[in-house]
Amino acid sequence: MTIGEPFDSGRDPALGELLRRHFEAADHDAFAALVMARLPQGASLWDVLARWARPGIAAAVLIAAALGYWTVARETAQSAAEPTGELAAAGRSMDTEALMGAVLGRSR
């Protein structure tokens, strides 16, 4: 091999060839066949799912948020209505705060 000067910046073909031989792997055709066998055939089910994942998750979040809001609003309205009925059933007069709460709760 060429023994060049220590500060030369050119390539050393002899050293390059030794390095190539050292790092070279065998049977590239068999390797390529292995690679190709691993590749997905066309658009797989996972590809389709992956394509739909982001909008699907966004839609699910929106639906969950709407359902949550609807459920909370419904329960709030029901719980606000209860004291009126209880007070009325007990034959007691309602104070202003309870009355306002009941009215506002119903109107939501």
Binding site: L19, H22, E24, A25, H28, F31, L39
Partner: protein, 191 residues
């Protein structure tokens, strides 16, 4: 790029375009053409041949998944080289990569060899030991420069380091390897 992979630009661009359109056969042709470079690079990082081939396979798999995002006007080799280096480092993170010893000269092998074969085996053994002793970045830098044919600046871009650092890495790696090949008894004497 002044790379060692000499492929007519048009034909490679055409293969890339076909691969981007989902043509597996075209991608297979690109795999065949670039497998030697990708496998060498993975070996320079992982050293164990089996791990290196696993990483090289991962690299081509990633390349297939990302080929539609590749700019067909660019050279494919540097893009693949970058993917290969990432795949090798990723594989090393994911699993404890098998530790490798530098190739042993194999006294038994040498016994039945001719003088020339024994000398060649000894040379390769010393080279393997010296390569194994190099820091990873120097190992990859000298491979990209001396074997794959990239310029210092291109190696710097691929490795994400300044050109001056590449020159220094290549210089030190080359000096260590030359010393190992020249001085069988006292490898570190002239460092």
């Amino acid at each position: 790029m002044s790379g060692a992979v000499r492929i007519p630009a048009e034909s490679e661009a055409e293969l890339v375009r076909r691969a981007q359109a989902g043509d597996r056969e075209a991608f297979g042709e690109l795999v065949v053409r670039h497998a030697p470079m990708v496998r060498r690079l993975a070996r320079a990082i992982l050293r164990d041949p089996e791990d290196a081939d696993d990483a090289a396979q991962d690299a081509f798999f990633s390349a297939w998944l990302a080929i539609d995002r590749f700019d067909a006007g660019q050279k494919l080799a540097p893009w693949l080289a970058r993917i290969a280096m990432n795949a090798a480092k990723d594989l090393r993170r994911r699993r404890a990569v098998r530790a490798t010893e530098p190739l042993d000269a194999g006294a038994a092998l040498m016994r039945g060899s001719t003088r020339a074969e024994a000398d060649d085996l000894l040379l390769r053994t010393r080279l393997a030991e010296a390569i194994a002793a190099l820091p990873e970045r120097q190992r990859v830098a000298i491979l990209l420069y001396e074997v794959e044919g990239y310029a210092h600046a291109e190696v710097g871009t691929l490795l994400g380091i300044p050109e001056g650092t590449v020159r220094s890495d290549v210089f030190h790696a080359r000096r260590a390897l030359r010393a190992a090949l020249r001085e069988p008894e006292g490898r570190d004497d002239d460092r």
